[in-house]
Amino acid sequence: MPPTCSWPGLPAAVAATAAVASAACVVEMDTERPASPIGAVTTDCVVPLPDRGAPAALEYPDGTLWIFDDGGAAFVASIDDACAGVVAAWPDPVLALTAEEEADDQTRTDGRAWALRPRGGVVAAGVGYLYYDRVLTGPGVFDVEVIDTGVCTIADRPGPCARAPAPLWPGGARSWGDAGFVEDGVAYVYGCDHLAAFTDLCALARVPVADVTDAAAYAYLGWDDAWRPRGDDTVTLFEAPGAISASRHAPSGRVMVTVADLWDSRLELRTAAGPAGGFDDPLVLFDVASPPDWFFAGGREHAGLREPGALAFSYATTAAPAPGLHVVRFQVADEGLQPW
Protein backbone atom coordinates (compact mmCIF):
# COMPACT_ATOMS: atom_id res chain seq x y z
CA MET A 1 0.00 0.00 0.00
CA PRO A 2 1.54 3.35 -0.96
CA PRO A 3 2.14 5.96 1.71
CA THR A 4 -0.74 8.32 2.24
CA CYS A 5 -0.74 11.58 4.07
CA SER A 6 -2.72 14.46 2.70
CA TRP A 7 -3.18 16.63 5.84
CA PRO A 8 -6.05 18.42 4.10
CA GLY A 9 -7.03 21.91 5.10
CA LEU A 10 -3.83 22.88 6.86
CA PRO A 11 -2.30 26.24 6.02
CA ALA A 12 0.25 25.80 3.25
CA ALA A 13 3.31 26.44 5.39
CA VAL A 14 2.14 24.07 8.09
CA ALA A 15 1.13 21.48 5.53
CA ALA A 16 4.52 21.63 3.89
CA THR A 17 6.22 21.09 7.23
CA ALA A 18 3.85 18.29 8.07
CA ALA A 19 4.41 16.67 4.69
CA VAL A 20 8.16 16.64 5.22
CA ALA A 21 7.82 15.35 8.73
CA SER A 22 5.35 12.70 7.74
CA ALA A 23 6.26 11.64 4.24
CA ALA A 24 4.76 8.30 5.05
CA CYS A 25 1.97 8.98 7.50
CA VAL A 26 0.41 5.56 7.26
CA VAL A 27 1.91 2.57 5.58
CA GLU A 28 -0.03 -0.63 5.97
CA MET A 29 2.49 -3.40 6.47
CA ASP A 30 0.29 -6.43 6.80
CA THR A 31 -3.21 -7.62 7.49
CA GLU A 32 -3.51 -10.81 9.46
CA ARG A 33 -6.17 -13.43 9.95
CA PRO A 34 -6.86 -15.56 12.96
CA ALA A 35 -6.11 -19.23 12.98
CA SER A 36 -8.66 -21.61 14.41
CA PRO A 37 -9.25 -21.25 18.13
CA ILE A 38 -10.36 -24.84 18.45
CA GLY A 39 -7.83 -26.96 16.59
CA ALA A 40 -5.57 -27.34 13.59
CA VAL A 41 -5.28 -29.14 10.28
CA THR A 42 -3.01 -32.15 10.56
CA THR A 43 -3.69 -33.69 7.14
CA ASP A 44 -4.62 -32.10 3.84
CA CYS A 45 -4.29 -34.45 0.89
CA VAL A 46 -5.52 -34.48 -2.68
CA VAL A 47 -7.59 -37.55 -3.44
CA PRO A 48 -5.77 -39.40 -6.24
CA LEU A 49 -8.88 -40.07 -8.31
CA PRO A 50 -10.23 -38.48 -11.49
CA ASP A 51 -11.49 -34.95 -10.79
CA ARG A 52 -15.28 -34.92 -10.44
CA GLY A 53 -15.66 -31.75 -8.39
CA ALA A 54 -16.84 -31.51 -4.82
CA PRO A 55 -19.32 -34.15 -3.69
CA ALA A 56 -22.46 -34.02 -1.64
CA ALA A 57 -22.44 -36.71 0.99
CA LEU A 58 -24.41 -39.17 3.03
CA GLU A 59 -22.80 -40.00 6.35
CA TYR A 60 -22.98 -43.66 7.36
CA PRO A 61 -21.65 -45.05 10.64
CA ASP A 62 -18.81 -46.80 8.78
CA GLY A 63 -17.95 -44.21 6.19
CA THR A 64 -19.14 -41.55 3.79
CA LEU A 65 -20.88 -41.90 0.48
CA TRP A 66 -19.72 -39.18 -1.85
CA ILE A 67 -22.24 -38.31 -4.56
CA PHE A 68 -21.04 -36.17 -7.43
CA ASP A 69 -22.91 -33.85 -9.77
CA ASP A 70 -22.42 -36.31 -12.62
CA GLY A 71 -24.52 -38.86 -10.75
CA GLY A 72 -21.58 -41.03 -9.82
CA ALA A 73 -20.70 -42.07 -6.29
CA ALA A 74 -17.84 -43.43 -4.22
CA PHE A 75 -17.87 -44.87 -0.72
CA VAL A 76 -14.96 -43.87 1.50
CA ALA A 77 -14.23 -45.63 4.78
CA SER A 78 -11.56 -43.38 6.28
CA ILE A 79 -9.46 -40.28 5.76
CA ASP A 80 -6.41 -42.38 5.04
CA ASP A 81 -8.32 -44.42 2.46
CA ALA A 82 -9.45 -41.24 0.75
CA CYS A 83 -5.90 -39.93 0.63
CA ALA A 84 -4.77 -43.23 -0.83
CA GLY A 85 -7.55 -43.28 -3.42
CA VAL A 86 -9.08 -46.40 -1.90
CA VAL A 87 -12.83 -46.19 -2.42
CA ALA A 88 -15.51 -48.87 -2.61
CA ALA A 89 -17.06 -49.45 -5.98
CA TRP A 90 -20.55 -48.07 -6.42
CA PRO A 91 -22.68 -48.62 -9.48
CA ASP A 92 -22.98 -45.55 -11.72
CA PRO A 93 -25.14 -43.62 -11.71
CA VAL A 94 -26.43 -43.57 -8.18
CA LEU A 95 -28.82 -40.79 -9.11
CA ALA A 96 -30.31 -41.01 -12.60
CA LEU A 97 -32.78 -39.19 -14.81
CA THR A 98 -36.07 -40.87 -15.49
CA ALA A 99 -36.86 -42.24 -18.93
CA GLU A 100 -39.26 -39.35 -19.46
CA GLU A 101 -36.58 -36.78 -18.65
CA GLU A 102 -34.12 -38.44 -20.98
CA ALA A 103 -36.72 -38.54 -23.71
CA ASP A 104 -37.47 -34.88 -23.16
CA ASP A 105 -33.77 -34.08 -23.56
CA GLN A 106 -33.79 -35.86 -26.91
CA THR A 107 -36.56 -33.70 -28.25
CA ARG A 108 -35.43 -30.36 -26.87
CA THR A 109 -34.26 -27.71 -29.31
CA ASP A 110 -33.64 -24.84 -26.82
CA GLY A 111 -30.18 -25.95 -25.77
CA ARG A 112 -31.36 -26.96 -22.33
CA ALA A 113 -31.18 -30.33 -20.62
CA TRP A 114 -32.32 -32.00 -17.43
CA ALA A 115 -29.84 -32.60 -14.65
CA LEU A 116 -29.94 -33.69 -11.03
CA ARG A 117 -27.83 -31.86 -8.45
CA PRO A 118 -27.32 -33.74 -5.16
CA ARG A 119 -27.50 -31.50 -2.09
CA GLY A 120 -27.18 -33.64 1.02
CA GLY A 121 -29.22 -35.87 3.20
CA VAL A 122 -29.54 -38.14 6.16
CA VAL A 123 -28.96 -41.78 7.00
CA ALA A 124 -31.14 -43.84 9.32
CA ALA A 125 -30.96 -47.57 10.02
CA GLY A 126 -28.62 -48.05 7.12
CA VAL A 127 -30.93 -46.37 4.63
CA GLY A 128 -29.74 -43.21 2.93
CA TYR A 129 -32.05 -40.35 1.99
CA LEU A 130 -30.56 -37.95 -0.51
CA TYR A 131 -32.09 -34.59 -1.38
CA TYR A 132 -31.43 -33.25 -4.83
CA ASP A 133 -32.43 -30.39 -7.08
CA ARG A 134 -33.91 -31.19 -10.44
CA VAL A 135 -32.64 -28.49 -12.75
CA LEU A 136 -32.69 -27.43 -16.36
CA THR A 137 -29.22 -26.46 -17.51
CA GLY A 138 -28.07 -24.45 -20.50
CA PRO A 139 -27.76 -23.04 -22.94
CA GLY A 140 -25.19 -20.94 -21.07
CA VAL A 141 -23.07 -22.03 -18.13
CA PHE A 142 -25.03 -19.88 -15.68
CA ASP A 143 -28.46 -20.66 -17.13
CA VAL A 144 -29.41 -23.12 -14.44
CA GLU A 145 -33.01 -23.17 -13.35
CA VAL A 146 -34.13 -25.18 -10.35
CA ILE A 147 -37.42 -26.82 -11.26
CA ASP A 148 -38.02 -28.59 -7.97
CA THR A 149 -36.36 -30.40 -5.08
CA GLY A 150 -36.87 -34.07 -4.45
CA VAL A 151 -35.56 -36.93 -2.38
CA CYS A 152 -34.36 -40.39 -3.25
CA THR A 153 -33.67 -43.47 -1.14
CA ILE A 154 -30.71 -45.82 -1.06
CA ALA A 155 -32.13 -48.91 0.55
CA ASP A 156 -29.23 -51.24 -0.14
CA ARG A 157 -25.49 -50.70 -0.37
CA PRO A 158 -24.17 -50.39 -2.96
CA GLY A 159 -27.18 -49.53 -4.98
CA PRO A 160 -29.03 -46.81 -6.80
CA CYS A 161 -30.95 -44.00 -5.18
CA ALA A 162 -34.63 -44.56 -5.93
CA ARG A 163 -36.31 -41.26 -6.58
CA ALA A 164 -39.61 -40.53 -4.89
CA PRO A 165 -42.29 -40.02 -7.51
CA ALA A 166 -43.33 -36.56 -6.36
CA PRO A 167 -41.06 -33.61 -5.61
CA LEU A 168 -41.04 -32.11 -2.13
CA TRP A 169 -40.71 -28.42 -2.89
CA PRO A 170 -41.14 -26.44 -6.11
CA GLY A 171 -38.35 -24.32 -7.53
CA GLY A 172 -38.33 -20.61 -6.79
CA ALA A 173 -39.38 -21.12 -3.18
CA ARG A 174 -37.60 -22.14 -0.01
CA SER A 175 -36.29 -25.67 -0.04
CA TRP A 176 -34.39 -27.99 2.29
CA GLY A 177 -31.91 -30.81 2.01
CA ASP A 178 -28.41 -29.31 2.14
CA ALA A 179 -27.52 -31.10 5.34
CA GLY A 180 -29.14 -32.95 8.18
CA PHE A 181 -29.04 -35.69 10.72
CA VAL A 182 -31.41 -38.05 12.49
CA GLU A 183 -32.23 -38.20 16.18
CA ASP A 184 -34.94 -40.29 17.83
CA GLY A 185 -36.49 -41.22 14.52
CA VAL A 186 -36.77 -37.62 13.34
CA ALA A 187 -34.75 -36.17 10.49
CA TYR A 188 -33.62 -32.58 10.99
CA VAL A 189 -32.93 -31.10 7.58
CA TYR A 190 -31.35 -27.72 6.91
CA GLY A 191 -31.86 -25.81 3.70
CA CYS A 192 -30.11 -22.69 2.46
CA ASP A 193 -31.60 -20.56 -0.28
CA HIS A 194 -29.84 -17.94 -2.30
CA LEU A 195 -32.07 -14.97 -1.67
CA ALA A 196 -29.85 -12.24 -3.11
CA ALA A 197 -26.22 -11.45 -3.73
CA PHE A 198 -24.21 -12.27 -0.58
CA THR A 199 -27.38 -13.44 1.14
CA ASP A 200 -27.99 -17.14 1.60
CA LEU A 201 -30.43 -17.90 4.38
CA CYS A 202 -30.60 -21.24 6.12
CA ALA A 203 -33.65 -22.66 7.86
CA LEU A 204 -34.66 -25.94 9.45
CA ALA A 205 -37.31 -28.54 8.74
CA ARG A 206 -38.03 -31.82 10.48
CA VAL A 207 -39.84 -34.96 9.45
CA PRO A 208 -40.27 -38.48 10.81
CA VAL A 209 -37.77 -40.66 9.00
CA ALA A 210 -40.53 -42.98 7.84
CA ASP A 211 -42.19 -40.05 6.04
CA VAL A 212 -39.17 -38.44 4.40
CA THR A 213 -40.69 -38.76 0.94
CA ASP A 214 -44.01 -37.20 1.98
CA ALA A 215 -43.97 -33.43 1.52
CA ALA A 216 -47.00 -33.03 3.77
CA ALA A 217 -45.20 -34.64 6.70
CA TYR A 218 -42.57 -31.92 6.99
CA ALA A 219 -42.75 -29.24 9.66
CA TYR A 220 -40.75 -26.04 9.62
CA LEU A 221 -39.18 -24.12 12.45
CA GLY A 222 -40.86 -20.76 12.97
CA TRP A 223 -39.69 -17.59 14.67
CA ASP A 224 -41.29 -18.64 17.96
CA ASP A 225 -39.54 -22.03 17.97
CA ALA A 226 -42.83 -23.66 17.02
CA TRP A 227 -42.97 -26.20 14.21
CA ARG A 228 -45.25 -24.96 11.46
CA PRO A 229 -46.79 -26.77 8.51
CA ARG A 230 -45.84 -24.19 5.90
CA GLY A 231 -42.34 -23.82 4.54
CA ASP A 232 -42.79 -20.13 3.76
CA ASP A 233 -43.41 -19.41 7.44
CA THR A 234 -39.96 -20.31 8.70
CA VAL A 235 -37.17 -18.51 10.49
CA THR A 236 -33.56 -18.06 9.37
CA LEU A 237 -31.09 -19.70 11.75
CA PHE A 238 -27.85 -18.61 10.10
CA GLU A 239 -26.38 -17.48 6.80
CA ALA A 240 -24.17 -19.66 4.64
CA PRO A 241 -22.66 -18.49 1.35
CA GLY A 242 -21.45 -22.02 0.55
CA ALA A 243 -21.97 -25.66 1.39
CA ILE A 244 -23.00 -26.69 4.88
CA SER A 245 -22.97 -29.86 6.91
CA ALA A 246 -24.79 -30.64 10.12
CA SER A 247 -24.46 -33.31 12.77
CA ARG A 248 -24.44 -34.02 16.46
CA HIS A 249 -20.91 -34.01 17.79
CA ALA A 250 -20.97 -36.82 20.32
CA PRO A 251 -17.97 -35.84 22.50
CA SER A 252 -19.30 -32.35 23.18
CA GLY A 253 -22.98 -33.18 22.84
CA ARG A 254 -23.49 -30.10 20.68
CA VAL A 255 -25.01 -29.75 17.26
CA MET A 256 -22.36 -28.51 14.89
CA VAL A 257 -22.92 -26.84 11.58
CA THR A 258 -20.00 -26.16 9.31
CA VAL A 259 -20.22 -23.42 6.73
CA ALA A 260 -18.08 -22.92 3.66
CA ASP A 261 -17.35 -19.21 3.59
CA LEU A 262 -16.64 -18.72 -0.09
CA TRP A 263 -15.96 -15.01 0.26
CA ASP A 264 -13.23 -15.39 2.86
CA SER A 265 -12.00 -18.76 1.53
CA ARG A 266 -12.30 -20.62 4.78
CA LEU A 267 -14.48 -23.04 6.66
CA GLU A 268 -16.28 -21.99 9.79
CA LEU A 269 -18.06 -23.79 12.59
CA ARG A 270 -21.16 -22.87 14.52
CA THR A 271 -22.47 -24.91 17.41
CA ALA A 272 -25.69 -25.00 19.35
CA ALA A 273 -27.29 -27.04 22.09
CA GLY A 274 -29.89 -28.45 19.70
CA PRO A 275 -30.75 -28.49 16.01
CA ALA A 276 -32.93 -25.39 16.34
CA GLY A 277 -30.11 -23.22 17.71
CA GLY A 278 -29.26 -20.71 18.87
CA PHE A 279 -25.96 -20.96 17.20
CA ASP A 280 -22.84 -19.36 18.58
CA ASP A 281 -20.79 -16.90 16.59
CA PRO A 282 -18.86 -18.67 13.83
CA LEU A 283 -15.42 -19.98 14.68
CA VAL A 284 -12.69 -20.25 12.09
CA LEU A 285 -11.72 -23.80 11.23
CA PHE A 286 -9.14 -23.43 8.46
CA ASP A 287 -8.34 -21.48 5.34
CA VAL A 288 -8.90 -23.02 1.93
CA ALA A 289 -6.85 -22.24 -1.15
CA SER A 290 -9.21 -20.68 -3.66
CA PRO A 291 -8.28 -20.02 -7.28
CA PRO A 292 -7.47 -16.34 -7.74
CA ASP A 293 -10.44 -15.69 -9.99
CA TRP A 294 -13.07 -17.97 -8.52
CA PHE A 295 -14.21 -19.87 -5.43
CA PHE A 296 -13.47 -23.24 -3.96
CA ALA A 297 -16.26 -25.83 -4.11
CA GLY A 298 -17.82 -28.00 -1.46
CA GLY A 299 -16.42 -27.70 2.01
CA ARG A 300 -18.42 -30.29 3.93
CA GLU A 301 -17.66 -32.07 7.15
CA HIS A 302 -17.99 -35.83 7.03
CA ALA A 303 -19.28 -37.40 10.22
CA GLY A 304 -18.72 -40.81 8.67
CA LEU A 305 -14.98 -40.20 8.48
CA ARG A 306 -14.47 -38.77 11.94
CA GLU A 307 -11.76 -40.10 14.16
CA PRO A 308 -11.36 -39.73 17.91
CA GLY A 309 -10.56 -36.06 18.44
CA ALA A 310 -10.59 -35.24 14.74
CA LEU A 311 -13.08 -33.99 12.17
CA ALA A 312 -12.95 -34.79 8.46
CA PHE A 313 -13.66 -32.41 5.60
CA SER A 314 -13.64 -32.36 1.83
CA TYR A 315 -13.41 -29.48 -0.60
CA ALA A 316 -12.41 -29.02 -4.23
CA THR A 317 -10.25 -26.30 -5.67
CA THR A 318 -8.49 -25.53 -8.93
CA ALA A 319 -5.85 -23.47 -7.14
CA ALA A 320 -2.19 -24.29 -7.58
CA PRO A 321 -0.16 -26.03 -6.37
CA ALA A 322 -2.64 -28.76 -5.43
CA PRO A 323 -5.78 -28.66 -7.55
CA GLY A 324 -8.33 -31.38 -7.03
CA LEU A 325 -10.53 -32.86 -4.34
CA HIS A 326 -8.96 -32.36 -0.93
CA VAL A 327 -9.60 -34.31 2.24
CA VAL A 328 -8.67 -32.65 5.52
CA ARG A 329 -8.13 -34.07 8.98
CA PHE A 330 -8.80 -31.38 11.58
CA GLN A 331 -7.58 -32.17 15.06
CA VAL A 332 -9.83 -30.63 17.70
CA ALA A 333 -8.36 -29.28 20.91
CA ASP A 334 -9.67 -30.68 24.17
CA GLU A 335 -11.98 -27.76 24.85
CA GLY A 336 -12.63 -27.20 21.18
CA LEU A 337 -16.36 -27.35 20.66
CA GLN A 338 -17.42 -26.00 23.99
CA PRO A 339 -19.04 -22.57 23.93
CA TRP A 340 -16.57 -19.81 24.56
Partner: protein, 288 residues
Protein backbone atom coordinates in the same frame (compact mmCIF):
# COMPACT_ATOMS: atom_id res chain seq x y z
CA UNK B 1 -28.38 6.32 26.97
CA UNK B 2 -24.71 7.20 27.50
CA UNK B 3 -22.95 7.65 24.20
CA UNK B 4 -19.22 7.03 23.87
CA UNK B 5 -18.62 10.72 23.24
CA UNK B 6 -20.54 11.76 26.37
CA UNK B 7 -18.63 9.24 28.42
CA UNK B 8 -15.32 10.67 27.20
CA UNK B 9 -16.41 14.13 28.31
CA UNK B 10 -17.59 12.84 31.68
CA UNK B 11 -14.35 11.08 32.43
CA UNK B 12 -12.42 14.18 31.39
CA UNK B 13 -14.46 16.31 33.78
CA UNK B 14 -13.72 13.91 36.62
CA UNK B 15 -10.04 14.21 35.81
CA UNK B 16 -10.12 18.01 35.86
CA UNK B 17 -12.05 18.21 39.14
CA UNK B 18 -9.78 15.68 40.75
CA UNK B 19 -6.69 17.58 39.72
CA UNK B 20 -7.13 20.01 42.55
CA UNK B 21 -6.78 17.39 45.27
CA UNK B 22 -4.02 17.62 47.79
CA UNK B 23 -1.24 15.00 47.46
CA UNK B 24 -0.85 12.44 50.22
CA UNK B 25 1.41 13.40 53.12
CA UNK B 26 3.43 11.09 55.32
CA UNK B 27 1.47 9.35 58.06
CA UNK B 28 -1.91 10.56 56.90
CA UNK B 29 -4.67 8.73 55.11
CA UNK B 30 -5.83 10.83 52.19
CA UNK B 31 -8.42 10.47 49.50
CA UNK B 32 -8.34 11.28 45.80
CA UNK B 33 -4.90 12.01 44.58
CA UNK B 34 -2.28 10.70 42.17
CA UNK B 35 -2.61 6.97 41.59
CA UNK B 36 1.14 6.56 41.51
CA UNK B 37 4.28 8.19 42.76
CA UNK B 38 5.71 7.75 39.27
CA UNK B 39 3.02 9.08 37.03
CA UNK B 40 1.98 7.04 34.02
CA UNK B 41 0.87 10.17 32.20
CA UNK B 42 4.01 10.56 30.09
CA UNK B 43 3.97 6.97 28.85
CA UNK B 44 3.70 6.58 25.09
CA UNK B 45 1.29 3.71 25.61
CA UNK B 46 -2.19 4.21 24.26
CA UNK B 47 -3.42 2.71 27.52
CA UNK B 48 -2.70 5.95 29.32
CA UNK B 49 -5.75 7.35 31.03
CA UNK B 50 -5.87 11.07 30.40
CA UNK B 51 -7.68 13.49 28.10
CA UNK B 52 -5.96 13.46 24.74
CA UNK B 53 -6.46 14.25 21.10
CA UNK B 54 -4.34 12.46 18.53
CA UNK B 55 -4.75 14.66 15.49
CA UNK B 56 -3.57 12.20 12.89
CA UNK B 57 -3.05 10.15 10.90
CA UNK B 58 -5.89 8.29 12.62
CA UNK B 59 -7.77 10.66 14.84
CA UNK B 60 -7.99 9.33 18.38
CA UNK B 61 -10.09 10.94 21.08
CA UNK B 62 -9.33 9.83 24.60
CA UNK B 63 -10.92 10.61 27.91
CA UNK B 64 -9.67 9.08 31.08
CA UNK B 65 -8.28 9.41 34.54
CA UNK B 66 -6.07 7.42 36.83
CA UNK B 67 -6.45 8.44 40.44
CA UNK B 68 -5.85 7.15 43.92
CA UNK B 69 -9.06 6.64 45.82
CA UNK B 70 -7.01 6.48 48.99
CA UNK B 71 -3.34 6.77 49.92
CA UNK B 72 -1.59 5.75 53.13
CA UNK B 73 2.13 6.25 53.84
CA UNK B 74 3.31 3.59 56.28
CA UNK B 75 6.71 2.18 57.13
CA UNK B 76 8.60 3.86 54.34
CA UNK B 77 6.08 2.76 51.75
CA UNK B 78 3.18 4.75 50.39
CA UNK B 79 0.26 2.56 49.49
CA UNK B 80 -2.27 3.79 46.99
CA UNK B 81 -5.55 2.18 46.05
CA UNK B 82 -6.29 3.50 42.61
CA UNK B 83 -8.89 3.55 39.89
CA UNK B 84 -8.10 3.59 36.19
CA UNK B 85 -10.68 4.36 33.52
CA UNK B 86 -10.58 5.51 29.95
CA UNK B 87 -12.58 5.57 26.76
CA UNK B 88 -11.01 5.97 23.40
CA UNK B 89 -12.55 6.66 20.00
CA UNK B 90 -10.47 5.95 16.93
CA UNK B 91 -11.02 6.56 13.25
CA UNK B 92 -10.57 3.76 10.78
CA UNK B 93 -9.24 6.11 8.12
CA UNK B 94 -7.22 9.28 8.30
CA UNK B 95 -8.07 12.79 9.37
CA UNK B 96 -9.99 14.40 6.53
CA UNK B 97 -10.30 18.04 7.58
CA UNK B 98 -8.83 20.38 10.20
CA UNK B 99 -11.08 23.41 10.53
CA UNK B 100 -12.90 24.24 12.65
CA UNK B 101 -12.14 20.89 14.30
CA UNK B 102 -10.11 17.90 13.16
CA UNK B 103 -12.55 15.59 11.47
CA UNK B 104 -12.46 11.91 10.77
CA UNK B 105 -14.73 8.95 10.96
CA UNK B 106 -15.31 7.40 14.36
CA UNK B 107 -15.23 3.71 13.78
CA UNK B 108 -13.62 1.99 16.71
CA UNK B 109 -13.85 2.56 20.42
CA UNK B 110 -12.41 0.94 23.48
CA UNK B 111 -13.50 0.96 27.06
CA UNK B 112 -10.81 0.22 29.62
CA UNK B 113 -11.03 0.36 33.39
CA UNK B 114 -9.80 -1.30 36.51
CA UNK B 115 -8.30 -1.03 39.96
CA UNK B 116 -4.78 -0.98 41.24
CA UNK B 117 -2.70 -1.15 44.35
CA UNK B 118 0.56 0.77 44.11
CA UNK B 119 3.42 0.59 46.54
CA UNK B 120 5.93 3.42 46.37
CA UNK B 121 9.14 2.42 48.15
CA UNK B 122 9.85 5.91 49.47
CA UNK B 123 12.57 5.04 51.98
CA UNK B 124 14.47 2.88 49.51
CA UNK B 125 14.20 5.54 46.82
CA UNK B 126 15.42 8.25 49.19
CA UNK B 127 18.54 6.22 49.89
CA UNK B 128 19.09 5.86 46.17
CA UNK B 129 19.09 9.56 45.38
CA UNK B 130 17.27 12.78 45.96
CA UNK B 131 14.27 12.80 43.67
CA UNK B 132 14.42 9.10 42.92
CA UNK B 133 11.37 6.90 43.12
CA UNK B 134 10.71 3.19 42.92
CA UNK B 135 7.24 1.80 42.65
CA UNK B 136 5.44 -1.46 42.02
CA UNK B 137 1.80 -1.58 40.95
CA UNK B 138 -0.59 -4.47 40.63
CA UNK B 139 -3.66 -3.78 38.52
CA UNK B 140 -6.76 -5.71 37.63
CA UNK B 141 -8.37 -4.37 34.49
CA UNK B 142 -10.99 -5.03 31.87
CA UNK B 143 -10.95 -3.79 28.30
CA UNK B 144 -13.61 -4.30 25.68
CA UNK B 145 -13.55 -3.35 22.01
CA UNK B 146 -16.47 -2.03 20.00
CA UNK B 147 -17.34 -0.24 16.82
CA UNK B 148 -19.84 2.37 15.81
CA UNK B 149 -22.63 1.08 13.60
CA UNK B 150 -24.76 2.93 11.11
CA UNK B 151 -27.05 5.52 12.66
CA UNK B 152 -29.84 4.50 10.31
CA UNK B 153 -29.84 0.92 11.53
CA UNK B 154 -28.10 -0.39 8.45
CA UNK B 155 -26.26 -3.69 8.36
CA UNK B 156 -23.31 -4.08 10.69
CA UNK B 157 -19.83 -5.42 10.21
CA UNK B 158 -18.84 -8.87 11.36
CA UNK B 159 -15.98 -8.41 13.80
CA UNK B 160 -16.65 -11.67 15.58
CA UNK B 161 -13.22 -13.01 14.63
CA UNK B 162 -11.37 -10.22 16.43
CA UNK B 163 -9.68 -10.93 19.75
CA UNK B 164 -10.90 -9.11 22.81
CA UNK B 165 -8.55 -7.91 25.50
CA UNK B 166 -11.00 -8.90 28.19
CA UNK B 167 -9.80 -9.34 31.75
CA UNK B 168 -6.21 -9.32 32.92
CA UNK B 169 -3.84 -8.68 35.77
CA UNK B 170 -0.88 -6.38 35.26
CA UNK B 171 2.23 -6.01 37.35
CA UNK B 172 4.48 -3.08 36.59
CA UNK B 173 7.62 -1.88 38.26
CA UNK B 174 8.87 1.64 37.64
CA UNK B 175 11.88 3.66 38.63
CA UNK B 176 12.60 7.36 38.27
CA UNK B 177 15.94 9.07 38.61
CA UNK B 178 16.98 12.62 37.87
CA UNK B 179 20.30 13.12 36.13
CA UNK B 180 20.90 16.82 36.36
CA UNK B 181 18.04 18.50 34.57
CA UNK B 182 17.03 15.30 32.86
CA UNK B 183 14.55 13.05 34.59
CA UNK B 184 14.63 9.44 33.47
CA UNK B 185 11.78 7.04 34.04
CA UNK B 186 11.74 3.36 33.19
CA UNK B 187 8.92 0.93 33.62
CA UNK B 188 8.56 -2.74 32.86
CA UNK B 189 5.14 -4.31 32.85
CA UNK B 190 3.64 -7.71 32.39
CA UNK B 191 0.05 -8.42 31.57
CA UNK B 192 -1.34 -11.84 32.38
CA UNK B 193 -4.71 -12.37 30.73
CA UNK B 194 -7.23 -14.59 32.43
CA UNK B 195 -7.73 -17.92 30.64
CA UNK B 196 -10.90 -18.07 28.61
CA UNK B 197 -11.55 -14.37 29.13
CA UNK B 198 -9.28 -12.88 26.50
CA UNK B 199 -7.90 -13.41 23.02
CA UNK B 200 -4.43 -12.92 24.48
CA UNK B 201 -2.33 -15.01 26.80
CA UNK B 202 0.30 -12.61 28.09
CA UNK B 203 1.94 -9.35 27.12
CA UNK B 204 5.23 -8.01 28.41
CA UNK B 205 6.03 -4.37 27.76
CA UNK B 206 8.29 -1.53 28.75
CA UNK B 207 8.44 2.28 28.93
CA UNK B 208 11.41 4.58 28.72
CA UNK B 209 10.86 8.28 29.27
CA UNK B 210 13.22 11.23 29.37
CA UNK B 211 12.06 14.64 30.48
CA UNK B 212 14.44 17.56 30.25
CA UNK B 213 13.55 20.23 32.82
CA UNK B 214 15.62 22.74 30.90
CA UNK B 215 13.29 25.71 31.29
CA UNK B 216 10.69 26.38 33.94
CA UNK B 217 7.83 26.69 31.45
CA UNK B 218 8.92 24.24 28.78
CA UNK B 219 10.26 20.71 29.16
CA UNK B 220 11.29 18.78 26.05
CA UNK B 221 10.54 15.09 26.42
CA UNK B 222 10.82 11.79 24.65
CA UNK B 223 8.84 8.69 25.50
CA UNK B 224 8.97 5.20 24.04
CA UNK B 225 6.73 2.26 24.75
CA UNK B 226 6.85 -1.26 23.38
CA UNK B 227 4.69 -4.29 23.99
CA UNK B 228 4.38 -7.78 22.59
CA UNK B 229 1.12 -9.64 23.10
CA UNK B 230 0.97 -13.38 22.65
CA UNK B 231 -2.27 -14.53 21.08
CA UNK B 232 -4.20 -17.55 22.19
CA UNK B 233 -7.04 -19.65 20.79
CA UNK B 234 -5.83 -19.09 17.25
CA UNK B 235 -5.38 -15.35 17.42
CA UNK B 236 -2.07 -14.12 16.02
CA UNK B 237 0.47 -12.32 18.17
CA UNK B 238 0.55 -8.53 18.11
CA UNK B 239 3.19 -5.97 18.89
CA UNK B 240 3.32 -2.21 19.23
CA UNK B 241 6.15 0.26 19.43
CA UNK B 242 5.25 3.89 19.98
CA UNK B 243 7.45 6.92 20.36
CA UNK B 244 6.45 10.43 21.37
CA UNK B 245 8.74 13.41 21.00
CA UNK B 246 7.59 16.82 22.04
CA UNK B 247 7.39 19.37 24.78
CA UNK B 248 5.58 19.56 28.09
CA UNK B 249 4.21 22.88 29.28
CA UNK B 250 4.12 22.55 33.07
CA UNK B 251 1.52 24.22 35.21
CA UNK B 252 0.39 23.90 38.84
CA UNK B 253 -2.35 21.55 37.66
CA UNK B 254 -0.22 19.35 35.47
CA UNK B 255 1.42 19.21 32.09
CA UNK B 256 0.22 20.07 28.64
CA UNK B 257 1.95 17.67 26.27
CA UNK B 258 2.43 18.53 22.60
CA UNK B 259 4.06 15.80 20.59
CA UNK B 260 4.72 14.10 17.31
CA UNK B 261 4.27 10.36 17.36
CA UNK B 262 5.59 7.36 15.54
CA UNK B 263 3.80 4.04 15.67
CA UNK B 264 4.95 0.69 14.35
CA UNK B 265 2.97 -2.47 14.81
CA UNK B 266 -0.59 -3.58 15.16
CA UNK B 267 -3.44 -1.20 15.65
CA UNK B 268 -5.56 -1.42 18.77
CA UNK B 269 -9.13 -2.46 19.32
CA UNK B 270 -11.04 -4.14 16.54
CA UNK B 271 -8.44 -3.03 13.97
CA UNK B 272 -5.80 -5.18 15.64
CA UNK B 273 -5.23 -7.37 12.58
CA UNK B 274 -3.80 -4.40 10.69
CA UNK B 275 -0.08 -3.92 11.06
CA UNK B 276 1.18 -0.52 9.98
CA UNK B 277 3.65 2.23 10.61
CA UNK B 278 2.40 5.75 11.05
CA UNK B 279 3.52 9.25 11.88
CA UNK B 280 1.25 11.68 13.58
CA UNK B 281 0.90 14.08 16.42
CA UNK B 282 -1.39 15.34 19.11
CA UNK B 283 -1.93 16.88 22.48
CA UNK B 284 -2.47 15.39 25.92
CA UNK B 285 -3.47 16.86 29.27
CA UNK B 286 -1.63 15.24 32.16
CA UNK B 287 -3.10 16.34 35.46
CA UNK B 288 -1.07 13.93 37.57
Amino acid sequence: MVTPRAAVVAVAVVAVVGAGATPARAGELTFLGPAREISHSSSASRDTALPALQLGPHRVLTGGAEAALAALPAGGVTWRLGFFGMLELESEGETTAWAPFPQADIRFWRGHYGYAVAASLDRLAARWCDGCAVEATLSARHESEHYTGANDGGPGTDYSDRPHVGNYLMLDVAARRPLGAVELTARVQYRQFLPGQSGWAEAPGADLIARWRRWPRLHPFGSAFGEYAFGTRGFPDAYRVRVLIGVMLPSPRGDLQLYVSGDVGHRQGLAVFTEERALGGGVRLAFW
